[in-house]
């Protein structure tokens, strides 16, 4: 059975490109465009990895990350943060909050797919 990735991102064309790339790499992809309710979504689809944006409608990606890390069942879930907020303080805040990998937009497709596969293997 293929591994699965949940994408929490509100930009539909980025989601479409990511979905295409990850499915082509043999992964199952589910996406969610709204911050609110994302924890329930993750619990429902039980992914092997989450790709998370920071600036989302209703609730920020940082709060979602904190909720993931505070949730007993999701504590060890690998999270790749993919964001346009690439300043040092954003990166530090995300790493301090327990993100596994921090990537800034725009990203390289090859690098992103390779990073996702690496995180899933580890």
């Amino acid at each position: 059975m293929s591994k699965s990735v949940a994408i929490i991102e509100d930009e539909p064309f980025i989601v479409e490109a990511l979905t295409f790339l990850l499915e082509r790499a043999g992964l199952t992809v589910r996406s969610f465009a709204n911050g609110a309710g994302s924890i329930e979504f993750i619990q429902q689809v039980t992914p092997d990895l989450v790709i998370l944006d920071i600036m989302l409608p209703n609730i920020s990606g940082m709060e979602i990350l904190e909720n993931i890390r505070n949730n007993q069942g999701l504590k060890r879930l690998p999270v790749l943060m993919l964001t346009a907020k690439g300043q040092k303080r954003d990166r530090k805040a995300a790493i301090d909050a327990g993100v596994d990998l921090f990537m800034t937009k725009p990203f390289s497709n090859d690098e992103l797919v390779a990073s996702v596969l690496d995180l899933l293997d580890s």
Partner: protein, 429 residues
């Protein structure tokens, strides 16, 4: 000023007059050897001798006397200290200023210009860091660029993708490029608002954008067709701005509920849009009427009002511009505007015409009001608002009002002899 400077100055002034020590000593009635000691700063002078030398040199005694150029020396010293890594001889600043007054003025002027530019940069940087619209736009542009880059990379590097999928990606590229162009144009407009732009305070971007789109009259809220929550949801307001946006929309609803538009318009027209008469007739506070007048549907027979609201420090809380009267986003407006005068006369409405350098005349009504209950020994905090319009012909009873010549901001104001000027007119040749 140190004694060293005085002797040096006398020497420089003598050389400028092309006099020998002997000549100057003779005219001043002192010996050449004594003058030599003075010029080499080995003798201090004052009183009669100083006056004689000043007369002989045909210059004002004050120009030779101590302290006459203290401000210039200080400015030069400041310039030297700001570049201490170049190791300027700061201990010889006074001598330098006395010996080369022209160069000293040049150094001082360059220092002043540098300080002014640093202030401008700081103000601009502050605006960019604290402007949610700008931050949001840059985020949006990066998202657009990411989608375009990723999609284009797929199309370029994977020639084997199914045709319908590649067609969709091409369509996505087209849509996303158009959005990127729109966002970039919005950012440009934000920093260079056109004369028609009506941009409100940058601290509440979603609410301001909504107002601009609806020409400052939110009909869906007025008519009860949409609730505050529905409007916030429709706007997709980022989480960080939701509380402020909801509060602003709720204030709007409160205004529309207290002063429903139809009866208000009837009363306003009956009073020829005189805010004071309307407030008195309807029994409501003047600021509420002023806000209402700035938020009405537009019609040819009704004056179009702009509004500025400031706190006690003069910081802009809310603004609605008019094409003829642009309001600075970052503060630094003309201190002669009546809104700032009203702050010193709380609860007393001030009506006045203002004449702009462009030749435009506007009617203004300013009012300052406390925002908290006063405490013993403490002045109450207050806010001020100014309602203004160029359509004053539609308002009654404005014949004998004061007329104030004001500007916009010093940098773009050609009124050179203004007592309130605090910085130079940038277009001055």
């Amino acid at each position: 000023m140190a004694r060293t400077l005085l002797g040096t100055r006398i020497r420089e002034a003598r050389r400028a007059k092309r006099l020998t020590q002997k000549d100057l000593a003779r005219i001043a009635g002192i010996s050449a050897s004594y003058l030599n000691l003075i010029e080499h700063n080995r003798r201090g002078i004052a009183g009669k001798t100083l006056l004689s030398l000043a007369n002989a040199l045909e210059i004002d005694q004050s120009l030779l006397s101590e302290g006459s150029d203290r401000a210039l020396v200080d400015r030069v010293k400041k310039a030297a200290l700001s570049a201490s890594h170049l190791k300027p001889e700061t201990e010889r600043t006074e001598e330098f200023t006395a010996r080369y007054p022209g160069f000293a003025r040049l150094v001082a002027r360059l220092q002043d210009q540098q300080e002014q530019q640093q202030e401008n940069f700081a103000a601009l940087a502050d605006q960019m860091h604290n402007d949610p619209f700008f931050a949001e736009s840059i985020h949006l542009m990066l998202s657009n660029i990411t989608a375009i880059h990723s999609t284009a990379d797929i199309l370029a590097s994977m020639p084997d993708i199914p045709r319908d999928q590649s067609q969709r990606f091409l369509q996505n590229l087209l849509s996303e490029s158009a959005r990127l162009s729109e966002t970039a144009s919005d950012v440009l407009d934000h920093f260079e608002p056109s004369s028609d732009a009506q941009v409100a305070s940058p601290d509440n971007a979603p609410f301001d954008t909504l107002l601009e789109q609806h020409h400052f009259y939110l009909e869906p809220l007025e008519q009860g067709r949409e609730s505050v929550a529905e409007m916030v949801e429709k706007l997709a307001v980022p989480a960080a701005l939701q509380i402020q946006t909801k509060a602003s929309l709720q204030s709007y609803v409160d205004m529309a509920t207290t002063l429903p538009i139809q009866p208000f318009l009837e009363t306003a027209q009956a009073h020829h849009f005189d805010a004071l008469s309307i407030a008195s007739d309807m029994g409501v506070a003047l600021p509420l009427v002023m806000f209402r007048l700035a938020h009405m549907p537009q019609a040819p027979d009704m004056p179009r009002f702009g509004l500025l609201q400031c706190d006690g420090s003069g910081a802009v809380l809310y603004r609605k511009q008019l094409p003829v009267f642009a309001l600075p986003r970052f503060g630094g407006a003309c201190p002669l505007w009546p809104i700032y005068r009203s702050a010193s006369q709380p609860t007393q409405p001030i009506a006045a015409f203002i004449d702009l350098p462009s030749g435009e005349r506007l009617f203004t009504l300013s009012y300052s009001y406390p925002t908290e209950v006063a405490q013993i020994g403490m002045p109450a905090q207050s806010e001020s608002i100014m309602l203004f319009t160029a359509d004053y012909a539609l308002i009654d009873g404005l014949k004998s009002l004061p007329q104030l010549s004001v500007g916009m901001q010093c940098a773009v104001c050609p009124r050179q002899k203004c007592s309130a000027r605090r910085s130079a007119y940038l277009l001055d040749k």
